[in-house]
Amino acid sequence: MVVLDINALWRRRSKIRGGVHPEPRKESTADKPIVTDFPLPERLYLPLQQHLGQPAEPVVRAGDKVLKGQLLAASRGAVSASVHASTSGTVAGIEEYPAPHPSGLPTPTIVLEPDGEDRWIEGAGEADPFSLTPEELCARVDQAGIVGLGGAAFPSAMKLNLGWRTRINTLIINGGECEPYLTCDDRLMRERAAEIVEGVRIMLHGLQCPTALIAIEDNKPEAYAAMLDAAKKHGRIEVVQVPSLYPMGWEKNLVTHLTGKEVPAGGRPTDVGVLLHNVATAYAVQRAVRYGRPLISRVVTVSGEAVEAPRNVEAPLGTLLSELLAFCGHKPERTARYVMGGPMMGDHLPHVQVPLVKRTSGILALTPEEIQAADARPCIRCGRCVSACPVGLLPLEMMTRIRAGQLDAAVSFGLRDCISCSSCSYVCPSRIPLVHYFKYASGELMARQQAQQKTEQTNRLAEEKRRRLERAKQAAAARKAQASAKEDAS
């Protein structure tokens, strides 16, 4: 009997808009196992903010002895994530240290001096994670400081919490890894498929969600096979192949492709009952809930032509990227650009004396031949950026408006929907840094919004002051009247 699979029908019908096919360049790292014996560095630098939202609040002081996995800084406010010690040792201080950020500006950072013992703190593991209530699961994930490891670094506990408020019908686990060079998720799926699948089951339980789809691009057949094998015992988890296309791993693309639903502009996948998590996040959730291990290390791809032995390394958070590169045989004289993350959406780093943080999926040292830097030439209005844009925007039109300083016009062309995926910059034959324009404009819009808020606040404060002065005047008048009445009476 032929069973009609509605989902499969949708999958065939929904076409992905735009996208590009950059050279994958994954072959140098994809077939090498994850290196797990990375030597402990002499110092670890743990920024208080490795996630979206409020920075964490330190709970240790300089000189404190800490154990591996001990809480160093607690999450603060609704959107925040805590930071834990990546190894045992002494807190050398809490100071300003350069952040892994394109600006290279410093940020408050806990400096940890390892003692070499690497001794774990007593962790509260759970032999049967499914006996916990969803609330308890969320609390465990929150305590473990887990954030989205795909690159956005959104606190994961917040996303698991959503299950109680919005109905989530489908959990999509993003194993797309569409960025060139990066293979950390690929390797993780090949080597630790069972753990990932258990993490997905824990997430399903936490969300009280019926089904999960694990999406893997069709250029990773080994990872697909491994995940298929690990998930076959669990009927609620389906492993699906998606076409290799950049940006396939963009959440809205995956949702449209896998469920046929389109996420509204300005909305989130939860608006159509779908939630997305990265495969590495699922793995971190499994470690946290099953073994009580907080997020203190991650698998990171060290690659690029300026690296002699590119590979995936599981390294403690806080390791300097320069040490990771040196471990893999970095040739600084050949390096033209350092990128944290993938080459399409990653951050260009001014230098690599910055720590590995939770969202670092890769560190690339690229040679001049790889980046082929060139000056921008005038726009020839070929329209390639328009066909490449996965959102369906007109990058060239937005760019000209922004260049002329007409930000409002750029917004009316859909600037706010831009996801900075760099597809337009990638295909532009004139090498115009389109995405740089959009990032600049978004920042400027944010600044304007803040200025607007400040004006409103100023107005309010000035009004308060006027009222206060008036009250004082009235009170003085009343006192005077009272005094004169007293005088009259006497």
């Binding site: 903010q49 952040a99 950020h101 394109p102 600006s103 500006l105 940020t107 000056d375 921008a376 030439r377 005038p378 726009c379 260049r403 300083g405 409002d408 004139s430 115009i432 840094p433 740089h436 324009y437 990032k439 600049y440 978004s442 920042g443 400027e444 944010m446 600044a447 304007r448 200025a451 607007q452 400040k454 004006t455 606040q457 100023t458 107005n459 404060l461 000035a462 009004e463 308060e464 002051k465 206060r468």
Partner: protein, 181 residues
């Protein structure tokens, strides 16, 4: 008797004149241009006087009368200039408006004598303190109007640029020359 007469006559006079004033206020009311009110609402409202007018309302009146340019308000910066220009349908050249480097007032603890003059003039109550005690600036409420700097007798107040951190860092505009003409 005389006293009573005087009191009654003055009361009657006061009441009559009061009613006349009230009636005049009602029936001879001069309609203000509502546009002025709207513009005033858009202004920072701190009456800092940096535009050269004695306050935000006179500035708004000058704008509506066409005597001032939409770029008159330094604290408002580019954003306000654009809003004003679109409200009044004016053409403006924003290239001339340099957005000021964002500043914030700071009290030097070494020289503050606690004279309280600065927080009396502060339009947003951003300075706190007590007589003969060191004052401090609430950075979030400070609009960098510079009024406190003017009145400070010991020059202990100064304007400092706000430090760039990861939170307020923004992407710079791509180089126009590099982007091609």
């Amino acid at each position: 008797m005389y006293i009573l007469f005087a009191v009654l006559s003055l009361t009657a006079l006061g009441l009559a004149l009061g009613f006349m004033l009230g009636a005049a206020a009602r029936y001879f009311k001069v309609e203000d241009n509502p546009l002025v009110d709207e513009i005033e609402k858009m202004m920072p409202g701190s009456q800092c006087g940096q535009c050269g007018y004695p306050g935000c309302r006179p500035a708004a009146e000058a704008l509506v009368a066409g005597k001032a340019s939409a770029t008159l308000c330094p604290p408002g910066g580019k954003a306000l200039a654009e809003q004003l220009a679109s409200k009044l349908s004016l053409d403006i050249d924003l290239a001339g408006v340099e957005d000021q480097v964002p500043m914030v007032a700071r009290v030097s603890e070494a020289t503050c004598i606690g004279c309280t003059r600065c927080f009396k003039v502060c339009p947003t109550d951003a300075i706190v303190g007590a007589p003969k005690q060191i004052h401090a600036v609430v950075a979030d409420a400070c609009i960098a109007c510079g009024k406190c700097v003017e009145v400070c007798p010991t020059e202990c107040l100064g304007m400092q640029p706000i430090k760039t951190t990861l939170r307020n860092w923004r992407w710079a505009k791509p180089d126009l020359a590099a982007a091609g003409a």
